[in-house]
Symmetry: C2
């Protein structure tokens, strides 16, 4: 079957309506394009679980703050389409900004609590933009299942909460972070790194893994966070750490003890590039 | 066909899912119960336009402010069910508060601009509560059409905006306000009025109609509003007017001239009861 490219919302809705009338199940993989192996693994997972797979490609201005990298965020549509085809997607939804946010647009979805911590502290308004666009993509494509990478762990948690709170009736499927052999989490933003920065970047993941060892040994959350931060700065002297936090894996509230289902998250600047990563910690 | 009463969200979703699989169209009439002839006209309208009709009955705590009438808002389930049956509804969705807002609930929908004017100025947070619950009801019942009275004109406008902004794919149908022969708009809150207040209340509608005459004669919006306010206070000396405003019927922004598609809205206290009303003004 060939890959359909829909740039109009109505055409996309119409297509999924026909699929639904035929009793076909739909899986959605929302992306901002510049697709890499991490996205590919989501699409293949969706392919195995659904009759039809839609990949959305939309660089969402509403989730970028002023001064952030919206304008220079990598765009690579023809390569993206080739990857979608290779991974077995049935359709790509690639709307223009004015399709998604027509004149007079004035509605937003806010998930309180989750939105203000971690990334939200450093990127005010980011998760409001994420929640709103994800809801719109879900409404347009009406999937049974939607797939999100654990790489953006706070986003995954927030979308789960929203889907449950708003009775969306969609299963939110979280998928493990894809990594380079040296541990660096795949990200479209890795393309910004200079060769020297690229060589240093795996130290972030290594620091999280080392600090997890400490957590498993019974150290306090603060000690775990201090260790990870110190190790990042020791390996990458010019790094700037926005946060390293050990949190409850469900609520993202600071862990009180190194016990239960936790997650260790970090955001780190390398030069002009901001990278995020996280790993599970079960104790 | 008998009337089904669903108090569980999952049961309601399951029922509409089966209807949709059979290709049946669904109409939703969202209400807070204490149903009157205004609601009945919405249900009959939905009955004519759809294969299946769902009436939701839920007194939504999130749209009442502190000190408002949530606790004493009239509840009359068995009479409501009889009315729904009489008007040909197929199902009533009547969830408990903990079904709609389970522990940990933290998502809200905000429609900016529209939410802050008129009612929003006097009832902060009201429309956030309305938008959020209406979205949830639409998600649970997935109707082709949802029916709202023009009596709550700002609510109707806001729900239209939200449905369009969030790509909900539902038609929002506005229906004319039902009135007593003396002009008083039907409202569940009319039950709060003392006999004396009830006798005075039609003066609100009469004042709007008189002021509309002025607008049609070419008076300025300010003159129209002043006339309506003066006439309300002349007829009901103890009344307290929250607002009388002539606005653009679509954006609800203050009318600059008495020309085009306008709406004249008022909110007035009679003793402890707050009544709202509005009429169309075409010039």
């Amino acid at each position: 079957m060939s890959l359909l490219l829909c740039t109009r919302r109505r055409r996309m809705s119409e297509l999924v309506r026909r699929w639904r009338e035929q009793g076909l199940s739909i899986g959605l993989v929302p992306t901002m394009g510049a697709l890499h192996e991490g996205h590919a693994s989501l699409i293949r997972r969706a392919r195995r679980g659904n009759d039809r797979v839609v990949v959305s490609i939309f660089v969402n201005p509403a989730q970028f703050g002023p001064g952030e990298d919206y304008a220079r965020y990598p765009r690579a549509l023809s390569r993206d389409l080739a990857l979608c085809r290779r991974c077995g997607a049935d359709a790509v939804y690639h709307p223009g900004v004015s399709q998604v946010y027509p004149e007079g647009f004035s509605t937003a979805v806010q998930v309180s609590g989750l939105s203000e911590r971690l990334e939200g502290k450093f990127r005010p308004g980011h998760f409001r933009g994420v929640a709103t666009v994800v809801l719109k993509l879900l409404e347009t494509t009406r999937p049974e299942r939607a797939y999100f990478g654990e790489k953006d762990y706070q986003q995954l948690t927030l979308v789960r909460r929203m889907a449950s709170d708003l009775d969306l009736g969609v299963a939110i499927v979280g998928c493990p972070t894809a990594r380079q052999p040296d541990g660096l989490a795949l990200s479209s933003r890795n393309a910004y790194l200079s060769p020297r920065e690229r060589a240093l970047a795996p130290a972030i993941h290594a620091a999280l893994v080392a600090a997890r060892g400490l957590a498993r040994g019974g150290a306090s959350p603060k000690a775990v966070e201090r260790r990870a931060r110190a190790r990042i700065l020791a390996s990458i002297p010019q790094a700037r750490v926005d946060y390293v936090e050990l949190v409850d894996a469900r609520t993202l509230r600071p862990a009180e003890r190194a016990r239960g289902r936790l997650r260790l998250l970090a955001a780190v600047w390398l030069g002009k590039t901001r990278l995020i990563d996280n790993i599970p910690v079960f104790n």
